[in-house]
């Protein structure tokens, strides 16, 4: 049914298509938007990895050396998955980006799904949609369909860029394998869209739902790590969604049968989500939510206390993730470090900015991964501040005797403390892991390496505050594009074929790979100064602008 309204000579279509699919189309539009952004990032990561390989590892000897270094390294396999065929562009590309993109895809799927399901319910918009010609089950089913469109866009862009890159005679990845590779890459995204749909029924809020999903992702990653650790437990790979994606083995030894658990898992979780959506009351959750709570008044002494209270649960879960990751890195540092001396892996690590041998060199690269996590956590603090504004809650604070700048300064203080503490958590946890293996890495060295994680995150947050002050609605896209770009550049730069002008645009490239090398305090100072300058300018701009909703 189409109803048109004529106003001032123009016709506005009120409803396009069937009203029974309006939720699907609405969800699809939102999911496709972020699918486009991440599709580009996925595609460029794959293309740059493949093209860079052809320019660095030109000869057979170089590729054999790479195979010798990576192919048999258990520590690398634990972190990034198996590396069966590093002598070919396709094999290297699959090894290089698959696990990283699988995890990014899972995070994308989880956050998109919880945002568009439980997030819509939190905002009250879901109730409005349910008052239309639908039921909760059908609405949930429609949303899943819309999310599927988002995943399709992600896959299509990833595949298109991979196919274009594959046309190069040096890369030479034909369309069929490229399509399959893109499918394997977005498989975790699809599965975690379903995970998010299910946890949206379990949790009472979007945050709770995302936290349940994140915990599941953590377990899935840990199970896959154990399976790939080469300790005779490889069958465990079939217990983890990340393992199923890995078993698709794109570009090397395709195993489409691994699609079966992926399809079954997605279908079962999707069906469960639809069923639960119909079985529960709107606004309620399957996991009982305490409607009453003991008041904890002492912490609510003002805007800073409120900020701490609001981010506490999320930050603690990030710290647990950082601590576990750092502990695992510390655990494998000694064994991995022992295999690199004299191998071509030593050169590879050097290109990541971690020269030398032994556990320090391995930890140098591992701390780069931790730096990315800490920067994402810092960006998340700024996003939380923006949500206070866009959700209208900031109004309730600023109509009191609270200056805008002091509110923002308070939020920044919380963000900086969170970032600093994350560095400390990373340093101590990595040391505990390394010490348990007698890796002979000093606590002070790793604490220094932890502190070294702070400046890139501060720079990111500072630039974010600048955008927050000037164009708040653009902040999420600018912030995550900056993070994605910095991440991409450092990954591509790790294999060496990028101009230093481009490399210098990545905050992670500016960071010295401590503990492999000493922290570059000058670069750290500049990054901190850039962050502070951005924060000051952004704070001044925030004082002069209107508060803006979504």
């Amino acid at each position: 049914m189409v109803a048109d309204l004529a106003i001032a000579g123009q016709r506005f279509s009120l409803v396009r298509g069937s009203p029974r699919t309006v939720i699907a189309r609405l969800t699809a539009r939102k999911a496709a938007r972020s699918g486009v952004i991440w599709g580009y990032i996925f595609g460029i990561a794959i293309a740059s990895s493949a093209i860079s390989y052809t320019s660095i590892y030109k000869t057979r000897a170089q590729r054999d050396a790479l195979e010798a270094a990576y192919g048999s390294n258990k520590a690398m396999n634990v972190l990034f998955g198996p590396s069966p065929d590093l002598q070919t562009v396709a094999g290297f590309t699959a090894f290089k980006v698959s696990m990283t993109l699988a995890i990014l895809g899972a995070i994308w799927g989880l956050l998109t799904s919880t945002r568009l399901l439980r997030g819509e319910e939190d905002s009250g918009r879901w109730e409005l949609l349910l008052s239309g010609q639908t039921t909760p089950e059908r609405a949930a089913l429609q949303s899943l369909g819309g999310l599927g469109v988002g995943a399709f866009v992600l896959w299509a862009l990833t595949a298109a860029i991979t196919i274009v890159a594959g046309l190069s005679s040096k890369v030479s990845i034909s369309a069929g394998p490229a399509l399959y590779f893109a499918m394997a890459t977005v498989a975790t995204a699809v599965m975690f869209l379903a995970v998010g749909a299910l946890t949206s029924q379990l949790g009472a809020t979007r945050h709770q739902s995302a936290a349940y999903g994140a915990a599941f992702l953590g377990v899935a990653y840990a199970v896959r790590m154990i399976a790939d650790a080469g300790v005779g437990l490889h069958t465990l790979v079939w217990l983890s969604p990340l393992g199923w994606a890995e078993e698709l083995k794109p570009l090397t030894a395709p195993q489409p049968l691994a699609l079966l658990p992926i399809i079954a898992f997605t279908a079962v979780l999707g069906a469960a989500a639809v069923h639960l959506a119909g079985a529960r009351d709107i606004g309620a959750s399957v996991v009982a939510d305490r409607a009453n709570g003991q008041p904890h008044l002492r912490s609510l002494f003002g805007p800073i206390g409120l900020a701490v209270r609001m981010v506490r649960a999320t930050v603690i879960s990030w710290w647990v993730g950082i601590a576990l990751s750092a502990f695992l890195y510390g655990l494998v540092a000694k064994s991995a470090g022992g295999t690199i001396s004299g191998s071509s892996l030593q050169k590879v690590l050097a290109k990541f900015g971690a020269p030398g041998t032994g556990p320090d060199a391995v930890l140098g690269v591992c701390f780069l991964i931790l730096a990315i996590l800490v920067a994402f956590l810092g960006a998340g603090q700024l996003m939380a501040a923006r949500r206070e504004e866009s959700g209208g809650r900031l109004d309730h604070l600023l109509v009191n005797p609270v200056a805008r700048t002091s509110w923002l300064a308070g939020r920044l203080l919380v963000a900086i403390v969170v970032i600093l503490a994350s560095g400390a958590v990373a340093g101590v946890s990595a040391w505990l892991g390394a010490a348990s293996q007698n890796a002979h890495v000093r606590l002070t060295t790793l604490m220094e390496a932890g502190l070294n994680l702070v400046p890139p995150a501060v720079a990111i947050v500072g630039v974010g505050v600048l955008v927050f002050g000037v164009r708040p609605r653009a902040m999420p896209i600018v912030l995550y594009t900056l993070l994605g770009w910095s991440l991409l550049i450092v990954v591509v730069g790790g294999i060496g074929a990028v101009s230093h002008w481009v490399l210098d645009t990545s905050v992670f490239h500016q960071m010295a790979s401590a503990p492999a090398v000493s922290p570059n305090w000058e670069a750290n100072g500049i990054m901190t100064a850039v962050g502070m300058a951005g924060a000051v300018v952004g704070g001044l701009a925030f004082r002069r602008r209107d508060l803006q909703g979504e």
Binding site: L5, A6, I7, D122, A204, T205, G283, D289, R290, A291, N292, G293, P295, H296, L297, L300, F301, G302, P303, G305, L306, R309, M310, G391, G392, R393, D395, H396, L397, L398, V399, N400, P401, V402, A403, R404, R544, R545, D546, L547
Partner: protein, 304 residues
């Protein structure tokens, strides 16, 4: 007029080419209860957000108790409390925690009065905000505003979602506030509420203040509603000075009369009127008189 609680001078807000508020000038004296009316999009919330310093004016200025709202917002906010039409609160906090937080931030809370308000509004403060209904969330921000006993209450659709009993409780609180000398600036769509509470009323249309005065002043300037019943022939009243909106229903004639009633009374007396009813317009009729004709006209255009 004593101390001025609110003053606007040429207050203007434009979004691109659209003037949300166009050179607004008015004053509210300390201790007054002023209603602020206008249809959706007239600029009521924009006025309030400008006065609160949440958005910045394109031109002009606003003052709260002589303090510039834009240049010294923190000082201005010490004198006021605000109730928004939508209570977007922190879902994971309980009602008690929210009241504690907002009280701490404002800095001055009458604890006994807060407890009294909680009882009067029948709020369960132990529940989390996400478990509250819309009306209960609205109660939380109403209590938060009233408990600090501010010099000025700025209320934007404050009873949105409240049931009639709670609306009565709200009216009682506003009467108490006025008795204590507090100033109230009330934006509302509920005419009976404004009529019952406000000393003066301002009517906003398309960003411009088209009327501001007491209800008596407005009524004096407005037409009187007259209904006359005749036994015999119904006279032609269309030529009588001041008569408008003439409607005939059998032996009954209804019309509006602006200005002196004398010419109409002479005609009616001569025609043998058997029953005569007249009444002053309600606030709703005054409001619709400002908007009704144009709204009907616009609706007609849309339908064509």
């Amino acid at each position: 007029m004593g101390t001025t609680a609110i003053r606007t001078e040429e207050l203007t807000k434009r979004y691109g080419d659209v003037a949300a508020l166009d050179h607004l000038n008015f004053e509210v004296a300390q201790g007054e209860v002023v209603g602020y009316l206008g249809p959706n999009g007239a600029g009521k919330t924009t006025t309030i957000r400008l006065l609160l310093g949440l958005v910045h004016p394109t031109e002009g200025r606003g003052e709260i108790f002589g303090i510039d709202c834009q240049r010294r917002p923190v000082e201005a906010h010490r004198h006021l409390a605000y109730v928004a039409g939508e209570a977007n609160l922190w879902p994971s906090l309980t009602g008690a925690e929210t009241l504690h937080l907002l009280g701490r931030i404002h800095g001055q809370v009458d604890d006994a009065y807060r407890d009294e308000l909680v009882a009067r509004f029948d709020l369960d403060p132990g529940k989390k905000v996400r478990a509250y209904s819309k009306g209960n969330r609205q109660k939380v921000i109403l209590i938060a505003a009233l408990m600090v006993r501010p010099d000025l209450l700025v209320l934007d659709e404050p009873t949105s979602g409240l049931d009639p009993l709670m609306e009565q409780a709200f009216r009682h609180c506003i009467h108490e506030a006025r008795d204590r000398g507090q100033t109230v600036f009330l934006s509302s769509h509920i005419m009976s509420e404004v009529e019952a509470l406000c000393d003066r009323v301002g009517i906003l249309r398309m960003g411009k203040l088209v009327e501001m005065g007491t209800l008596a002043q407005m009524r004096h300037l407005s037409a009187l509603s007259v209904e006359a019943t005749f036994e015999g022939a119904v006279p032609d009243l269309s030529q009588v000075p001041g008569v408008a909106s003439l409607q005939r229903d059998g032996q009954i004639v209804r019309c509006h009369v602006r200005g002196s009633l004398e010419p109409l009374m002479k005609v009616l007396a001569a025609a043998g009127v058997t029953r005569l009813l007249s009444r002053e317009p309600s606030l709703e009729e005054l409001f619709l008189a400002q908007y009704g004709a144009e709204t009907v006209e616009e609706a007609g255009q849309l339908g064509r």
